[in-house]
């Protein structure tokens, strides 16, 4: 201990304090501050870059999700459209069929009526002709019948027989 106290040199202590404080301020200004700032800046930069990357990743994820969603929607829409189209086609076909059937029925009906009318007309004509023919025949028969008296009387008699009073 005595040795230590005897060895203690005030001069060295004085210079050490002085030089150390000087060194402290010099290093603080010219070394530590720029170094620590540079390191902090760099770390901040790395942090920001990482954050940005993370954000970008999230955005891409969102975008992918969006895309998926849109695709899904589109698919659903397409399906719906296809279904609608199919239904429309079906309905159109049915409609057309119905209409065609109706039309056909109508045509047939018309034809039927025409045929009926024609038939009636024909029948009427035939009747007329038959009547005419009958009249002609009757005339001829009458003429021949009425050529002798006996026959005329007989005819009247027959006729009268037929009429029942």
């Amino acid at each position: 201990m005595e040795q230590l106290l005897n060895d203690f040199s005030f001069g060295l202590f004085f210079w050490q304090i002085l030089l150390f404080i000087l060194l402290y301020f010099l290093l603080k200004k010219f070394a530590w501050k720029p170094i620590l700032n540079a390191v902090d800046d760099r770390e901040e930069g790395i942090k920001n870059a990482l954050e940005e990357a993370e954000n970008a990743r999230k955005e891409i994820q969102n975008l992918t999700a969006d895309n998926e969603r849109i695709l899904k929607e589109a698919r659903i829409e397409r399906d719906a459209m296809l279904k609608e189209a199919r239904e429309m086609k079906e309905s159109m076909i049915t409609d057309a069929k119905d209409e065609a059937k109706a039309q056909a029925t109508k045509v047939i009906d018309q034809a039927k009526t025409t045929i009926e009318a024609e038939k009636h007309a024909a029948i009427a004509e035939i009747k007329n002709q038959v009547a005419e023919l009958s009249l002609g025949i009757a005339e001829k028969v009458m003429r021949s019948e009425l050529s002798d008296k006996n026959k005329q009387i007989k005819l009247v008699e027959d006729m009268l027989k037929e009429v029942k009073l």
Partner: protein, 361 residues
Amino acid sequence: MYRINLIKTITLLFLVMTFSVSAQHDPSVEVQTENSNHESDLKSEIKNEIRHHIKDSYEVVFFSDSKTGKKYGFSLPVILIDNGLHIFMASEFNHGENLVQKGGNYYKLYHSKIYKTDSSGHLDYDINHFPTNEKPLDLSITKGVVSILLVSMLLFLLFTSLAKSYKKNGSIPKGIGRFFEPIVLYIRDEIAIPNIGEKHYKKYMNYLLTIFFFIWFSNLLGITPLGVNITGNIAITFALALVTFIITQFSGNKNYWKHIFWMPGVPVPMKIILAPIELLGVFIKPFALMIRLFANMSAGHIVVYSLLGLMFIFNNMIGSSFSFVLAFVISILELLVAILQAYIFTILSALYFGFAVAEEH
């Protein structure tokens, strides 16, 4: 809370360890015995050499020839404040052989210290064989001061160039920065932030970095064959510990002082008992810092020098090569101790600052 207790225990452990280390090595720097036979001459020469190396000196000696007594190196300026300023070169002492007369006073260099004497150069001794003569206020540029300057310049050049390289390369370290940047970051992330806390650590970063690199580089320079011994000098470690002490006390908040003088959460009688203990702790903490660094570094120097001295005492192939290998191994160990002691000083300083700025919890 548990964590702080743990740290306190570790601190105490370090304290005990450092005292035991310093106690072990005290005898090795005792006054030499004066025997006349050859082997003792060699031993005392080695002892002297070690003691001179551990001590500060007014000259830088690279090597010396013991036969002719010639020393190769250069002397440094002596600055004395004693009734005026006296500046002269240490070579005027002629390694302690000459008296120097300045301003009517005579000065004598004895065992790396300057004493005021009468014109005959007489020294009075006390029971411990230390001169009792008055010492002038000595602000000389000694070997230690030159070494501090050297380390400071090295640190300044190194770290300003590192700072500049950041500016040039856009915040990306280049060259030497690749080595030092992780250390700077380690001090920030593993020493400052965990011990001081996210909120306050920025204020102390400059000091922690400065003290860490100063101690580390000083320790490393101490291992080189230049023969400097900065951190193994009690005046240096005292100055460093004093700075930590002053910063700690000046950053102490209300909570810190409350923990010292009126410990919360314990009964009143305990508070009264704890106050002087805590107050003592305030001074013991930096004292331990001082002693630990000093004892570790000077012990390392003494061991390496002793082992090197053993080479000459053995003076044969086997013994000398054995002690050389041993010295080499210890030197490698010293390389580790150099950074370890810097780390311990820094982390304990950070811990004390952390205590000082801790918020109430």
